[in-house]
Symmetry: C2
């Protein structure tokens, strides 16, 4: 069942049927209802491919996922971000197309999406310091929203980010208030923009209390259980070991916890831990009382909002949109006063 056939059944022209279904004013209300009813009755759904060609719009947005030729890993927060963004797309009848490409072909992937007309815009994930994708997308004229920010970018661009700097600054201050002075930072890879900002916040908090950040208490690695464990174990073996940890993610935090337990230390009493909690649906930080004290910001909600920004940007191309979210600091069972204090 296509438009032409439906039209002929109704004794109308395709033009009128199309207009009736799309809510154009130049069609009689009675006619419109007749058309709507017939469309429903015959289970008519306009062919997306034809709409796309006729309108010149893809009705789709792209997410490019670069994938490990070198050392990177599929980001665990990705699934939740996608779930959030996907809800927005579905509600607006947009398709979400994912391009999984070797990371040395990322640029080609963006160019392809644009020149082949597969999408109307893209979300940029995991921005890095001086991320080249911003200039690239500017160049090829593909609307985009960055999830995060890219320190060093010179062009204006749309983004949605968590205030990572302030989150980690507040978390560090909280630990300082509890009397901790040897505070470790188990950070993500520091070519990632968010990791840089978190480190800055952490350092700012220490410096404000006249403490000098100790390089031995700072680790930067992938946010895996393994890496978290490795970093914590190393630091706990130091002669002047930390009494508190600031950790980049829930998963890293589980590695840190494992290291604590191996060392016979009790989290929350002997050692305090604060993590960043992306509020992942499959990795909740406790049910009633949070396991970890945490800076929390839902990445799924971020996905929802970033998608909305992008759709808006596509619908009315205008000035860039920027949105900064604050993470909450939530109390859990993993922090307490410094035992040495």
């Amino acid at each position: 069942m296509n438009l032409k056939e439906l039209a002929s059944r109704l004794g109308l022209s395709p033009t009128t049927v199309s207009r009736a279904l799309n809510g154009y004013p130049e069609v009689n209300e009675a006619t419109r209802e007749r058309v709507m009813a017939a469309a429903k009755r015959h289970n008519y759904h306009p062919n997306t491919r034809a709409i796309r060609l006729a309108t010149g719009r893809a009705m789709a947005v792209g997410h490019v996922i670069p994938v490990a030729t070198r050392h990177e890993i599929v980001n665990p927060v990705f699934a939740d971000f996608i779930a959030g963004a996907g809800e927005t797309y579905s509600r607006n009848d947009y398709d979400m197309v994912l391009s999984v490409v070797p990371d040395d072909q990322e640029e080609a992937a963006y160019r392809g999406l644009k020149s082949k007309g597969n999408v109307d815009g893209v979300i940029v994930h995991a921005p890095k310091l001086n991320d080249p994708r911003i200039a690239l997308l500017h160049d090829i004229g593909l609307p985009f929203v960055v999830h995060g920010r890219a320190t060093g970018a010179t062009l204006p661009y749309s983004w949605l980010d968590v205030n990572n700097r302030r989150a980690f600054q507040r978390a560090a201050e909280f630990l300082l208030d509890l009397g901790h002075t040897r505070i470790a930072l188990v950070n993500g890879l520091e070519f990632m923009d968010f990791a840089i900002r978190r480190r800055t916040g952490y350092e700012a908090a220490l410096t404000a209390r006249a403490l000098t950040p100790d390089p031995a208490l700072m680790a930067s690695d992938e946010m895996t259980e393994i890496a978290g464990h490795r970093a914590a174990r190393r630091m706990l073996a130091l002669p002047d070991r930390p009494t508190a940890f600031l950790v980049a993610s829930m998963i890293s935090g589980m590695g840190v916890r494992r290291a604590l337990e191996e060392a016979g230390l009790q989290m929350g009493r002997d050692i305090s831990v604060i993590i960043h909690d992306d509020d992942l649906s499959y990795m909740k930080n406790g049910d009633d009382v949070p396991i970890f004290t945490a800076t929390r910001s839902s990445v799924r909600e971020a996905g929802r909002m970033a998608a909305e920004m992008l759709l808006d940007l596509i619908a009315n191309p205008g000035p860039v949109q920027q949105r900064l979210l604050e993470a909450e600091l939530i109390m859990g069972q993993s922090t307490g006063p410094c035992p040495r204090a």
Copy 2:
């Protein structure tokens, strides 16, 4: 730059240019090379929307992701499966479109994908007992491959699955060989097909040694850290507590580990644990020596293979394809002889 313009620049008809680029034989080799060169020079990429309309193929496959209106969660293995499948799609110039829909609209989502012509086929995720999607897709005539199987399905269908039954049977046998008799099962939700099969394998192993499965030692819940912790804590509080755990996932396993530690028990010495390891890129089971003894099967590889099956099914519609993968049993540090033995 479109086909018509490229053709006119070359002094050729669109027909010939199209054929030249698509490798049809009725075009002179010299002409073809001239066309190819011009296409590259002018950075010509055929418009996907037009190709799709003209050929009647979507050149895309769909993944429908039902999302929590009730209690389900975004599956953590999903990201890796997608990454694997996505690689296959990219290599074959297919798009991957994800539909995130409220779970009570899943059927409508599949129907929509078909009738609007957005995709040429779909991958079905997380099949349940008597999963209705199989009959549905059969009905509407959309090619599909199921990741997993659906016990109770009457129609033939294509699937790719891990031999969950045998994996858990072997794991249980391994624990039995170590002298354990009180073996707990921390399973996934048992309306999920894979969970049912795992339980069956577990029970078969016990029964074969004349042991009766104890309902108190069987839990079935979402595969989260929280749920794993909850189940293990409950079981460890039993008068006749288990000496070994068979756990459905890495993440559940971390919850179990937490419960062990809270109870002052050392994993691998006091209590043995075997998990199922999907070999997730962000959740590796140790680097050199695995943390957990595990039944392992890469879900990413499964994604790659399932996608290949589907593309093949789309290209040459034929008999159903079915593929059963065996999980490896890998030794880690979480198992040892039963201390009571």
